[in-house]
Amino acid sequence: MITVTRLAKVYSQAGRDIHALAGVSLEVPAGSVHGVIGPSGAGKSTLVRCLALLDRPTSGTVEIDGVDLAAVPAGQLRQARRRLGVVFQHANLFDSRTVLDNVAYPLEIAGVARRERRERALELLGLVGLADAAGAHPAQLSGGQRQRVGIARALATDPDVLLCDEPTSALDPRTTDEILDLIAALKARLGLAVLVITHEMHVVKRICDTVSLLEGGEIAESGPLAAVVGAFGSRLSESLLALPGELVDGDVDVLDALTPGREPALEATARALGAAPRIVAGTVETLGGTTFHRLRLATPPGFAPGALVTALTAHGAHAQEVAR
């Protein structure tokens, strides 16, 4: 369990204070994945650096199982860091070391005996499916394999929390899914609290239980994935269920959250009106057992957009005439 409370970071640059983080609060229970998503400049990197204690936050706390890392004196920081494993975007492996010695590094600096850390590193490499690569150097591995080694290394000290900084942003789509599935499997197996910082909506859809939108150094929206996506008009919902194309006056935007067995509002509406609205754009996604239809409809000839909105709403969907 990791609890972040009112975390703030102020940089002063050229005599001006820059509030990179303006009071961020988060909570990730053991055995769950929380995604922090945000555009460039939202404060994601600062958040990662503060959580990984590479930078000291200006104020606020980062508690892992009740221990505030931000308040630990410098001398005990090393011990405290063992509770938190960090996975980096580019893995950041040490090229001069073999894969095995990379994974063993956190144990080496903690003074674990050579034989013991070797055994533990081999065990971890098995866990990420790379037992064969123990003697290789990182340069001989693919990007996905390097990230697997990075994950194994982050788990070496048996942490409670795994902090993943853009873990798949440098990988191709197929490798991305392999890495995400590995993270989800390790979470379940080891009971980790996983915090994923990313700009990729796909990451959130695939592995996150809860999600926060970080904007301008603040959490703008937050909640369980299905609830956040089901909130019509929320920015997370619109980003996770993105619609392409231009806005045209008279079109109607629809968000329909379908629990199993429920008839889509679009079908019921078409029957009630006796006319089928044309789908201009649409995306369908199943998240947490709920199927979300996000559609943009053209109002059928002879009807007012308002009538379409009323009919859709009557059949259980959220609907709104688009405003350019």
Binding site: R81, R82, H90, N92, S96, P106, E108, P138
Partner: protein, 226 residues
């Protein structure tokens, strides 16, 4: 074949070449070892004390990098070695011979090598240093177990360049009492008009530099796992 016979019968070559080469090797060896021993910590210190470094220290960095290294590097070696004669005499008791020459060679090469160390360390991706810190490394562990091993190929290349530079300087040091191949070439090749001595010394120096460079390159290849 009289030129070749001259070569084989000339005592400057049959008797003086081997001891001169040995003196050069001695000068270069002592100066190189001392340069690495002093320049490596100096370069590391300059790197970690720089702005944004892991032990940022403006005062130390300014004194080491801005003043000591820059001033020493801006003095031409020919002048530096003469200016250092009193220092050498105080340090080793004499200003003559290869050991005395090593003093000025070292003083000239340390700042040069320290700059190469600094730039080798700068090439290590900052993400690796972040990773080392995030895993709980102390600064000492980060330097000794991450920074230096990751920069090893570049450091070896730096040592190679430095040794080649010292070989070049050692010929100059030979003229003011250092001995070695420089003095042999100057005394016999130049002042006694024996071009064959000059040619032989040049060949020996070229072979020496090639050997150093080839060894360095081979070590770089062996240690570079990127």
């Amino acid at each position: 074949m009289s030129w070749f016979e001259d070569l084989l019968s000339n005592p400057a070559i049959t008797e003086a070449l081997a001891p001169a080469a040995l003196e050069t090797a001695q000068m270069v060896g002592i100066a190189s070892a001392a340069t690495v021993a002093l320049g490596l910590p100096l370069g590391v210190t300059m790197h970690v004390t720089q702005r944004g470094g892991m032990a940022e220290n403006r005062a130390v960095n300014t004194v080491l990098s801005g003043i000591i290294v820059n001033i020493t590097r801006s003095i031409p070696y020919a002048i530096l070695m003469l200016a250092l004669i009193p220092v050498t005499r105080a340090l080793v008791g004499t200003s003559i011979g290869p050991i005395a020459a090593s003093v000025s060679l070292t003083v000239a090469a340390v700042p040069f090598f320290a700059r190469l160390v600094e730039s080798a360390l700068r090439e290590v991706a900052s993400g690796k240093v972040d990773a080392a810190h995030a895993m709980g490394s102390t600064r000492r562990q980060t330097v000794l177990r991450v920074l230096l091993p990751e920069a090893l190929p570049a450091l070896i290349a730096g040592v190679t360049t430095t040794v080649v530079t010292i070989i070049g300087y050692s010929a100059m040091a030979g003229l003011v009492g250092g001995g070695g191949l420089g003095r042999l070439a100057y005394n016999y090749g130049y002042q006694r008009y024996q071009p064959e001595v000059m040619v032989v010394v040049l060949i020996v120096l070229v072979v020496l530099v090639q050997a150093v460079q080839a060894t360095g390159d081979a070590l770089v290849r062996r240690t570079d796992h990127r």
